[in-house]
């Protein structure tokens, strides 16, 4: 602390608390909405809890509850989201750490070409090449499948860069020592490199899990079969009520269910998250 200015410090606290409240406002109102009967909303949004308690959540999560027109129970959508997020995360981390290992610790023909090809993917987000990517998936017969949902998303330039950056800081004496002791490249990778990369793996895990769980455009493009719908897509379906009443209490309960897993991951692994965010971008 540089000087004592209790009034200014108080002002900072007040402003931060106001900021937090403003940011939390939509979630607060959503939580309140889940405790009311849907008829309440005809007269406006309530600001305080009603008397339904957790009933709406219980109904939604009970084994076979289907939301008006959606074809899949919410528990099944959650399961799909989980499979998708975990496959993308594990796949992304595995292939990135392997390719970074190859680029940093080996000399082989086409090394720089391979590196630049991976770099190039940074400039090609799905959003800008929607139709041709859809055609590739169609030709490979990967529409409506978990492989189609996940495999195209596990290539990653940022994860490869982060591992490469980290591998470059590993002193060469370590490799020399390992080689003198007779460790081959595979033993070196599993016994030395992998344990050293733990914090980086944790950091990337948080970022990638959120990325995988929150995917929207991709599943929207390649799934027409309701069996593969994720929870994030499910919410959009619920909002599309053509005629009839929008069941706000159920929609808000579903949004809260859908945001809980990634929010819990971020808060529980806050340190790894901050590191992952700052490291992958710089």
């Amino acid at each position: 602390m540089i000087e004592r200015r209790p009034l200014f410090t108080l002002f900072c606290h007040v402003m931060l608390i106001l900021g937090i409240l403003a940011i939390a406002l939509p979630v607060w109102l959503a939580l309140v909405a889940t405790t009311h009967e849907n008829t309440v909303f005809a007269t406006g949004t309530p600001l305080w809890f009603g008397d339904l308690g957790l009933q709406v959540f219980k109904d939604l999560l009970s084994s076979d509850s289907r939301f008006n027109n959606s074809a899949l129970p919410i528990t099944h959508m959650l399961f799909n989201s989980f499979i998708m997020a975990m496959t993308i995360t594990i796949g992304k981390l595995s292939i990135s750490i392997l390719s970074a290992y190859a680029v940093v610790f080996f000399r082989f023909p086409g090394r720089m070409l391979a590196f630049w090809m991976i770099f190039f993917t940074l400039m090609l987000p799905v959003e800008v090449r929607i139709m041709p990517t859809f055609e590739v998936i169609t030709n490979l017969n990967m529409l409506n499948s978990f492989s189609g949902l996940t495999i195209p998303l596990i290539a990653s330039a940022t994860a490869t860069f982060l591992f490469r950056q980290f591998f470059l800081t590993i002193p060469k004496e370590l490799i020399e020592a390992a080689r003198i002791d007779g460790a081959g490249p595979i033993k070196f990778f599993f016994d030395i490199l992998l344990p050293l990369s733990r914090t980086n793996i944790a950091a990337l895990f948080v970022i990638t899990f959120i990325y995988g769980w929150n995917q929207y455009l991709w599943p929207l493009l390649i799934t027409t079969d309701a069996q593969y719908y994720t929870i994030v897509m499910g919410i959009k379906q619920m909002l599309d009520v053509v005629d009839g009443i929008v069941e706000w209490n159920k929609i808000m309960a579903t949004t809260i269910i859908a945001m809980l897993p990634p929010v819990i991951v971020v808060i529980a692994m806050q340190k790894a998250f901050v590191k992952g965010l700052v490291d992958t971008e710089k």
Binding site: M117, R129, I151, A155, L217, V232, M259, I267
Partner: protein
């Protein structure tokens, strides 16, 4: 990198890197090439024959007032989101940097929106902005605004801007906080001895010193607003009313996937690729000459 000792093995590294390369080739580079080829072709309505038309798709795009207005909409949207998200995050991080006690507590409660899916954010805010039952609509009615994002393009634009900004504040906050914390304390102490207060010190010391971070974030926020807000728009407005929130990415999706106009959609994809490439180069140029404080 060249001074690094490595293992001598010819096939292992190629085997290690091939999964990544394979996915990159099949799902990234091949479709990008296809987009470039298709952008010079015209397909008939049944997809039976294609004909090479050169730059015709691009020329008709730039003569299409819908496309030009979508360009303008995207710029307006991205600029507003970037400025709002940067200014509010900078203020919050400056407050968080000033206080010594409880900053971790505040950080925890400020970073979680980053984890919320754009569609989920869209649903949450749609509830607040609903013209008949939403809280914000009711508040605005008190000051005489007839809030209706379903019919009023400006209202719809503000709705997607606020939702997109809400999601981006946490990201900017973390980067600004890290940058502010790396400003040397000695500079602040010296200025404090010379009698300048915290606000003056922020404006004359911290803010100029974190300008590389601010510039970097400006680019990142622009990219975010350009490309990552598709889900927000798709969930909240579907580009409407009457295209007032139809950004370039939304239009690529709508023209290609819904309208099935392949040539035009491919040409739009190529233009967007050029834009991402440009923004990526700008971003990496910054990283190269990182300013040391």
């Amino acid at each position: 990198m060249s001074s690094h000792v490595g293992f001598k093995n010819k096939w292992l590294p190629i085997a290690l890197i091939s999964p990544q390369l394979l996915i990159t080739l099949v799902f990234f580079i091949w479709p990008a090439g296809q987009a470039i080829i298709q952008s010079t072709q015209l397909e008939d309505a049944f997809g039976l024959s294609t004909e090479f038309v050169g730059l015709e798709n691009f020329i008709s795009l730039f003569n299409d007032s819908n496309y030009l207005s979508s360009f303008f909409t995207t710029l307006q949207f991205s600029l507003t989101v970037a400025i709002l998200a940067l200014v509010s995050a900078l203020m919050l991080s400056a407050f968080a940097e000033h206080i010594t006690r409880g900053s971790t507590f505040y950080r925890t409660f400020l970073i979680w929106p980053y984890a919320v899916a754009p569609v989920v954010a869209g649903a949450l805010w749609l509830f607040l902005f609903d013209p008949t039952i939403g809280v914000i609509g009711e508040l605005l009615a008190l000051v005489g605004v007839d809030w209706n994002p379903v019919l009023n393009g400006n209202h719809a634009m503000w709705m997607v801007v606020i939702t997109s900004t809400w999601k981006q504040i946490s990201y900017n906050f973390l980067f600004f906080l890290a940058a502010l914390q790396s400003v040397p304390k000695a500079l602040h102490e010296a200025a404090a001895i010379d009698g300048s207060g915290p606000i003056k010190r922020f404006l004359t010391i911290s803010f100029p010193l974190i300008s590389p971070t601010s510039f970097f974030l400006l680019v990142v926020n622009f990219v975010y607003a350009f490309f990552d807000t598709f889900a927000v728009i798709h969930a909240m407005t579907q580009g409407g009313p009457s295209n007032s929130t139809s950004t370039l990415v939304y239009k690529v999706y709508n023209d290609g996937f819904i309208g099935l106009n392949l040539g035009s959609s491919a040409a739009q994809s190529v233009i967007l690729m050029a834009l991402v490439a440009l923004l990526t180069v700008v971003q990496f140029k910054y990283v190269e000459k990182k300013v040391a404080y």
